[in-house]
Subunit: 354 residues, 3 copies
Amino acid sequence: MTAKPSAPVHLLADHTTPLIRSAWYVVARSDEVTREPRACDAMETSLVLYRNAAGQVVALQNRCCHRSFPLAHGKLEGDAIRCGYHGLLYAPDGRCIEIPMQKSVPASLRVRAYPVVERKPFVWAWFGPPDAVDPEALPHPDWLGHAGWDMYIGYLRIDASYIHLHENLLDLSHLSFLHATTFGTPEYARAPVELDVQGTRIEAWRHVECHLPDIYSVPLGWQGQRARRSSGSCFVAPGLHVNTGYLRNLEGANPQPEPTIRVAQVITPIDRHSTHYWFAGCRNFVRGRPDIDDFMCKAQFAAFAEDQFAMQQITRLEAIDSAAPVVEAHIPTDAAGIAMRRHLAALAARDAAG
Amino acid sequence: MTAKPSAPVHLLADHTTPLIRSAWYVVARSDEVTREPRACDAMETSLVLYRNAAGQVVALQNRCCHRSFPLAHGKLEGDAIRCGYHGLLYAPDGRCIEIPMQKSVPASLRVRAYPVVERKPFVWAWFGPPDAVDPEALPHPDWLGHAGWDMYIGYLRIDASYIHLHENLLDLSHLSFLHATTFGTPEYARAPVELDVQGTRIEAWRHVECHLPDIYSVPLGWQGQRARRSSGSCFVAPGLHVNTGYLRNLEGANPQPEPTIRVAQVITPIDRHSTHYWFAGCRNFVRGRPDIDDFMCKAQFAAFAEDQFAMQQITRLEAIDSAAPVVEAHIPTDAAGIAMRRHLAALAARDAAG
Amino acid sequence: MTAKPSAPVHLLADHTTPLIRSAWYVVARSDEVTREPRACDAMETSLVLYRNAAGQVVALQNRCCHRSFPLAHGKLEGDAIRCGYHGLLYAPDGRCIEIPMQKSVPASLRVRAYPVVERKPFVWAWFGPPDAVDPEALPHPDWLGHAGWDMYIGYLRIDASYIHLHENLLDLSHLSFLHATTFGTPEYARAPVELDVQGTRIEAWRHVECHLPDIYSVPLGWQGQRARRSSGSCFVAPGLHVNTGYLRNLEGANPQPEPTIRVAQVITPIDRHSTHYWFAGCRNFVRGRPDIDDFMCKAQFAAFAEDQFAMQQITRLEAIDSAAPVVEAHIPTDAAGIAMRRHLAALAARDAAG
């Protein structure tokens, strides 16, 4: 235990904090974006996504600037999309380029175009000012989608603030309780957490010698054997958290390279009270086995559904408990979450200022 | 294209504009009003409707002035209605005329009575000040319910502003897109719209030579033949819009009189975000054929369900898109809709002043 | 008819009046509270209820002071309850006594503990300031749960203000109308109501000679015989109303003691717009007959479901009828209800002042 919470509460982001717009967020899985337009509600707005003829992803404001019909119910014509209500045609840069029954189109007629970057298996969009788009800030890690790793992807919609989700992911102490029957093991409750919080690096690590939970021991064939498990939770950006796990068998042979888990926890606020949540679990062991992909995805889904339940219950209580003052006590294991919330509050303030 | 939008946006009625109370609105089909009391939610209030012993329609505030129980759950006694909670008895003029266990009734005890006019197939009610009731303003057209026309009636509840519906009906340009597979024909997209906007006359006309859509060609037996189709959209009052269609076969024989369609689009706001919508389709051809009534009603229902979908999608986007500024660009084909919205804004202002 | 309404409307409590916190309310049936934690939403907050090892009921704020997870999803350890999210352990007095991975616990970490009194068949909780808990104010009557009476208990959730329910119960005049086919009898409509309103005693009585409704005549075997029925409605406290009925056969033999009905109408606001409603019907006749318990409970349930319907309809109309001014006329039979509402308004004012 190396850090203590010290921030005044009012400097910590919570579900009342404005969303952080100058950031990248995933708006779809790559394989969901095709030549059929598709809507994605995100960041208190709605986008339409499609691929142009060359296969590049286009992301536009979903709301026709004429009478607000969703463009996602329109049709593609080459690289452009035609509104399904009155037929206005939009270029991939958002400009309206044709109005039926009208010769010229005022230059001001347009919808917002969102800068997008596709990095399989995801499509990222920039929600900040277009002239401030920052490709360097794209949080997509190299290993995600890389051929060196096998991967599964799950999805949950969480009707709670994305900040609850970030906090949940940074906090390793809940595994022994909320996930007692899925991820947690008795040894976890007794293992110290090492926090590494410096500037924008916000990480929490735990090193445990234990019997691994089924999600790891079954694929590795290590049931009943003790192993060393090093688990890290790392805040990366408002739209991404990464979990890392290093596993070493203490009783039997160890494969090469060291069995490693990396989970991209992809987090996109729909609004301040609901969140898209994709989890992409990557491993460097027992490869080329779709049955193991399925097994691990289902196990992780079960655990994350427990998190979903917890966050939605909290959100429900926050709404019911209108008579009580808001109380939020902190404990040392919250230090990483508090650092994250202080960081998000600062980003929100920067957004508001800029 | 004869008109251009010119009104400043803030003079155009939209879903935030107060409802226009000094007007007539349909509250039921005639055949729905019987000796069994019936509720109708309309104009941000609730009415109870019933027939007195002589068969005349009575429309009262649905809310007992004692403890607010809906009178529609009460029982008729002759011409009067008795509340089902504590038994207060109301005369058709709204006065409370009996309180159980009490000898006299204070003169002030009453519910509001709404002036009603029954013109089959509908019952109209006046929602403005009772002393300002204006029978001349009743928008019921002579042909509607007249023996010279065959008729079907459909109904949809639309969870969107009634102003979106008026605008939709005045706008012929969306037929080629939203109704591409139902009402629209390829020739429609190329035909000019003639707007006739003078004072409170707000009409849009289109004259097209085309293959008629099935809804007309099947009853007339004109499939595969070219016809001239003149379509008019006419705003009549906050509670009524009329569509007219004149059809002439260009390749074969034409019946007498000229095949004509008139659709009474009956529009009653429930509140600013939801709307009753009855459509009464009348024709002067292929008469006395209930099977043709059914065929045309189903075809129209399919098309109007597309409008319902569009308006509800727009309403949903308006709610989601809280982060974006409200944008509403106008195009020349909106001129009739803009004139209508300017007119409704003026009526709302007159309501507020009076 | 001995009393007249005279209070100005603004001194009468209604659904906008703050809930009265310095009072006792039932939070569960005794048999619902076990060694499995259980939530009860009440009084604009949420409680967790459980029994300690000695069988005494514990009532705590349901919201962990750390991250607001509901303790009702936690687990008991002896007399304490451990939060299911991060494992904080709370003593029955609400103090946090253990935080996993941490040696000491700040004294300020606690959830609110609610004083509770169990009087079978119910558990009462005090929602006012803990240091003002007033055992004398506990409204549990001696006969309720007493071996001298047979009892059934029913439950309804009512999506309306608890004040509507109190008013409904004090008002005997609606029986002839709303309950015409269940409780009401034709003679009821003609019987005078005697109001006994002095200070905080708020009672209404009716004495009728009639054929009893089935709920009484069937168990007593008095079908077709005339009887005297004295019915009293008594406001006791914000959380309790008591109905009393004395029955005497006018045509046949009468058992000893005099057949008497007492119904504890247990009323707990969930918030200002929804209400828990338990009804415990007690009788001193035809005893030891579970089939009669069932018969009477079902009959009463049918009648109270009519009240539920009425109150929910009223609440719906109050919401729809936004355009109309709020009107509430009073009639003489409202005197008891008005006295109750004046009393509740005074209690709410006392709460706010103290």
